[in-house]
Amino acid sequence: MISQILFILVFATGIFLFARRAKTIRRNILLGKDVDRSDNRSERLKNLILVAFGQSKMVVRPVSGILHLLVYLGFIIINIEVLEIVLDGILGTHRLFASTLGGLYDVLIGTFELLALGVLVACVIFLIRRNVLNIKRFHSKELTSWPKSDANIILVTEILLMFAFLSMNATDALLQVANAGGAPDAAHYLAAGSFPISQYLVPLFDGLSVNGLVMVERGMWWFHIIGIMAFLVYVSYSKHLHIMLAFPATYFGNLNPKGYMPNMEAVTSEVKMMLDPQADPYAAAPAGSEPQRFGAKDVTDLSWKQLLDSYSCTECGRCTSVCPANQTGKLLSPRKVLMDTRDRLEEVGKNIDLGVEETDGKSLLGSYITEEELWACTTCNACTDACPINLDPLSVIMEMRRYLIMEESKSPESITSMFNNIENNGAPWAFPAADRGKWIDELNA
């Protein structure tokens, strides 16, 4: 009875902390400007199924893709086992599904064990890839300190959880044997499940008494479920949030051709007025057209989708590894752009939580991202193509360039002359517009 109450307490605390954090994240994301992504549901659903659930873009890089698939499948399917653990914990039962599922239960437990091994092996390889092998994208400047620890904490936790699950089964199997042999302390360990993997862990626990086995089995059970609840809360503060947000991020992703950069409607109305000889330049602005900032200086100038992207990014760095600017030693890293966006959004959110009315004097552009990074982008879309969940760091870069130009008139000198040339002679170079057809004369010369 006490253990049931304790369990419910642990479970409820985990859910409460996670729900509170989820609410904060939702509020932060909704600080972004509105953008309509309610169109074209069938194509969005297709992306959700293929790209998010089906991991179609992950396997483009087969090694990390297939390993990730193992962890992903393991994570999703082993959750059925967690359901049983939770119900056992609340009801005070042991292996609740064993009696109802019969032979199927053996198959399920056996499958979970195989998947647990897969997850374990994959996480060990991931740790080696991150910490031993010299893979460039895991050694960038933005991946030191916390982001590096974050990744390692996640991998170690997953390894420990899988080890606890398998140890629990190994001791359970031993207790089932003890029960069959008539040991009274093992009375409720009825024969259930098949243990294709954990049987190899049996030698670790073989010498223990029945009481010792029960302690280990219970210990692992509690470690597993407390670990899962703690992990749930941890994930919500970590880059690992992608295990949830990858799905909405993919569903609401950009469906236009990658080359399309949205036209700003606020600019369209102004340009129309400038080009219209009938327009009254002194006319009052139409109602509802309050002056707004062009482009993005801070996170609240971005759209909710861009903010969702920042929380969904798991810092894999595939974007940065294909970025032409980054590969040639420039400061720009598309991964860092999204990480900075998320970090700044967290900071803005904390200010709101603390009731800070005044601005903190910081902004995404300036305090986190420099102009040099923005001006290194070639808009080639390699980053958006490489992202396994269709995130769009390029759009964030472009919004900040818009702010630099349209609000602060800050651009490299040669870019300013390019603008002047287009304005004056309709070409980015200083050639007279009248010479545009000169090549025609040369053709027959």
Binding site: N263, M264, T268, P324, M406, S411, L443
Partner: protein, 265 residues
Amino acid sequence: MSQSIHVPTMAEMAASGEVPEILFWVGCSGSFDDRAKRITKAIVRILNHCNVKFAVLGAEESCSGDPAKRAGNEFLFQMQAMQNIAVLNGYGIKKVVTGCPHCFNTLKNEYPQLGGEYEVIHHTQLVNELLADGRMTVSGGGDFKGKRITFHDPCYLGRANDVFEAPRAVLEKLDAELVEMKRCKTKGLCCGAGGAQMFKEAEPGNKEVNVERTEDALEVKPNIIATGCPFCNTMMTDGVKNFNKEEEIQVKDIAELIAEAADLL
């Protein structure tokens, strides 16, 4: 063989009450840059050879606005776009072929919302159509026999608009060996000129992007690097020069290669 070619402007055509099959949007590079003008002339020779009824805007054409937009100047972009749209709509243009993937992308994707709805194709797509329809043939591609050609995907044609096959289909018509760089199609590496980089110095780094890309090309030991974009052409030409390989490796637009193979130059 060169022959005298008449390139009608839209103004002329409209004056005589004629309507072209297609408008050739030349672009700023194609109009002013000496190297890119050779590409423009090759496209015109192909159009003329195939008896495509085309016209150009001549002095009425103006920058599409792409470099302004990508540099963050949405005002200037939309000013350009709306003025161009007024001209194009004024002539009732329905179909446009561009000599530049940046113009192609902008006209195709960004003009419609501003009132400019046209069927827009890139010149490699048009050449592919002309070859497929038998409106022109390349005579065995004489000079290309045994040559290795690698195609550098322009970002704004490939990744941005998923046009990967048309330029390759055209190159396959030449009697040459088409070799792919390790980074090609959706994984193609930028030449370094997009996003208004063409008009500024590169930010500090340890290498130029075009040098990195030229290394990709050198790996497959080509005789010719084929391009479909005047900016890429400049960047790759400079990259090849950087390695002192300009004697061995030519950088040419697909239109130039086809015009050469069909003996139009």
